[in-house]
């Protein structure tokens, strides 16, 4: 089963300006036509559907509102949504899938994890049953396997960038680092002035993994991870991976992260709290954090202290500095065990990323992966941030899904465990690669 090779290539997010313009003109017509086609039949569908989601803060409020508006406009369908914390949710879903009692609609990231559920026959094929022309085509990559569609995006494009405190940088005569050496320099300046250079939620492990992801890409380009996903033997021992691991440990040795970082939890926003309270100067995080900060400490943003810069480039590296890592979006998929598939389809068609939801996400500083929203983004309250996200996503030569979502479950878990040990200096970069090579199954 090496279909995974084709999957990773489709994770490229390319939005040509011309494409966007053409789709904006033609897409609106298509959307209206498609919508008319479904609303007339959707009024006869009834059922109860449960949805599992992990959104927090204001994003959670949006989901709740979308669901209740849907229930109002579709009296025959009753949708209930339950919210969970990120890491426990992954476990809960896995167990529910295996036990055969998953919810009708479940939240996910696509990629290898979703594929493992698809291969086990647990996910409903929705090809042709839901209109997907309204979404940016490349975002459908992580949920399309073998030409069949297994989910639709539900919230926003989520590339990962460095967030930084503009005030701290100004006070210490720092500018956003363009290269890795600039970053190391900034780290040492901040350290001398007793400021935590970079906040890190080490306990969840994926925040640390982001450094390995970006460094590997900057050094060796996307082909390194493409080989890994394609199960090439010893692909984890690629020199780019080892060099990236080495640089990670150099960063740790330089004292870049807050003391006790391995107990700091992202699900509880503990690392972002260091940023918005002014204790830490930077954080590498997904752009969903903008909404988190808005929900918790909006003054940090409104006072102009919040800034972003892309992951620095590595001098001499092969990777394009515009390449992005992150989540292309979050998705809802329908379980095969669902007894209300038609009602779930209606929900996907009418509630997910409808006009109300799009406006709400934009107001929260999140960019929905929908075509034709340029004007809305420019007119929005957080237009600077929104246009930044939109533009880096458009300009990225390659947008790769997070390792722990793109790899199959056991391999993904091994990556997280080894990243944890790498950051704690309990294993060497060579051991990191050797341990992960063991997870490559020849299939």
């Amino acid at each position: 089963m090496s279909k995974r090779g084709t999957l990773s290539r489709r994770d490229v997010l390319k939005i040509g300006g011309g494409t966007a313009a053409a789709m904006a003109a033609g897409g609106g017509f298509l959307r209206r036509a498609a919508a008319q086609g479904t609303t007339s039949s959707s009024s006869s569908v009834s059922g109860n559907i449960t949805i599992w989601d992990i959104s927090t803060g204001d994003a959670q409020t949006i989901v709740k509102n979308v669901v209740s508006k849907f229930n109002d406009s579709h009296p025959k369908i009753k949708a209930t949504v339950e919210f969970f914390q990120n890491d426990p949710y992954k476990q809960k879903l896995q167990v529910a899938m295996g036990a055969g009692n998953p919810p009708d609609l479940f939240f996910g990231w696509g990629g290898g994890i979703l594929k493992s559920y698809v291969d086990a026959g647990k996910v409903y094929d929705i090809t042709g049953k839901v209109d997907i022309t309204r979404f940016i085509p490349s975002v459908m990559g992580p949920v399309t396997f073998g030409g069949k569609v297994y989910g639709i995006p539900i919230n926003n494009v989520q590339p990962e960038v460095f967030e930084y405190n503009t005030e701290i940088f100004k006070d210490h005569n720092l500018t956003p680092p363009a290269t890795w050496d600039d970053l190391m320099n900034a780290v040492s300046v901040l350290k001398k002035n007793n400021i935590i250079p970079i906040a890190l939620a080490g306990q969840n492990k994926w925040p640390g993994m982001m450094y390995n992801e970006f460094l590997t890409d900057r050094i060796g380009g996307p082909s390194v991870f493409n080989d890994i996903v394609a199960n090439k033997p010893n692909s984890w021992s690629n020199p780019a991976v080892i060099k990236a691991s080495t640089m990670v440990q150099q960063l740790v040795d330089a004292g870049a992260f807050e003391p006790g970082f391995s107990a700091v939890n992202a699900d509880l926003n503990q690392s972002s709290a260091l940023l918005w309270s002014g204790k830490a100067a930077m954080q590498l995080m997904g752009v969903w954090d903008y909404g988190t900060i808005l929900s918790n400490e909006p003054s940090f943003i409104t006072s102009g202290k919040y800034g972003t810069f892309p992951f620095p480039k590595v001098v001499g590296g092969e990777g394009d500095p515009s390449n992005l890592y992150g989540n292309l979006s979050n998705f809802y998929s329908i379980s095969n065990a669902s007894k209300a598939k038609d009602a779930a389809l209606v929900f996907l068609q009418d509630a997910v990323l409808n006009d109300y939801a799009i406006d709400q996400y934009i107001a929260l500083g999140e960019v929905p992966p929908v075509i034709g929203i340029d004007a809305k983004l420019k007119a929005a309250q957080h237009s600077d941030f929104l246009l930044m996200v939109y533009n880096i996503t458009k300009q990225a030569k390659n947008f790769q899904l997070s390792w722990d979502q793109d790899l199959p479950p056991a391999a993904a878990q091994a990556v997280l465990t080894n990243v944890d040990q790498l950051f704690l200096k309990q294993i060497t970069p060579q051991q990191f690669s050797a341990n992960l090579d063991k997870t490559i199954t020849a299939s």
Binding site: Q91, V95, G98, Q203, P259, G260, A263, A410, D420
Partner: protein, 296 residues
Amino acid sequence: MSQRFGWMLALMLVPAVGFFFIFALGPMVAAGYISVLKWDGLTPATYVGLANWRELFSDSVTGHAIILTIEMMVISWLIQTPISMLLGIFIAGHQRYREVLSVFYFLPLLFSTVAIGLTWDYLLNPNFGLLNALLDKAGLPGLAKNWLGDPSLAFTTMMFLLAWQYIPFHSLLYQAGTRQIPTVFYDAARVDGAGRLSQFFQITLPQLRYTIVTSTILILTGSLTTFDLIFVTTGGGPGYATRILPLQMYITAFPDTHFGYGSALAVLLALSGVGLSIFLLKVTGFSRMESQMEGM
């Protein structure tokens, strides 16, 4: 006549035995069966014989987990027993203020483990936590460590959190045990001229023998299987610092989706628990139920 009694006896035992079979024996047998399979919980399982068991005995992480578990059992006993005993004996006194204090001290028992774990996680947070803030203000910033984030400290910190959670329970045991001791003994001892220390070592401690045994069995088997507090607070980390055997079992079975290997660990845990209990009962003579009150 005796036949009818036999029937009635068997009938009365049915609920307890049934419960044992369904909730204790059944899962153990199931775990034993799964331990010879390779299964990820999603796709059909394949039979792999003793491969999981071989992995168990050669895995260094499991070895480390076993050592940690044994350390935890011993250290938990060493921390909890003296403190619980002294507290329990103290609370057993009939003075009013002691009973009031005992109410407050009982409170941790009432909290859910998840609440305890999350609260202590916040209190011990190296950047925002109350403990380090207080140490700073008290002029001891050097003592403000990364309690749960430093691999060399996390295990010790967990020991203390577990002690905080369970000492109230064991002190209750000791309180009940102490109150059972007839005051006649103490009167007689005072008449014979025994001081407080003598009374403690000659009367209180021997009379508390079976309470100590009960408490010990509970501490040892409890430490062998404790899961929830550690899971909520450190999740087995940082690295492998707090990954005791029950956590290793959970982590290999669920996040790592190696149900076969996890089941093998489960069987190991269950057999260890049973073995430990039987050993303790034999060694301490608990099963003989000898009376401590000969001569009364």
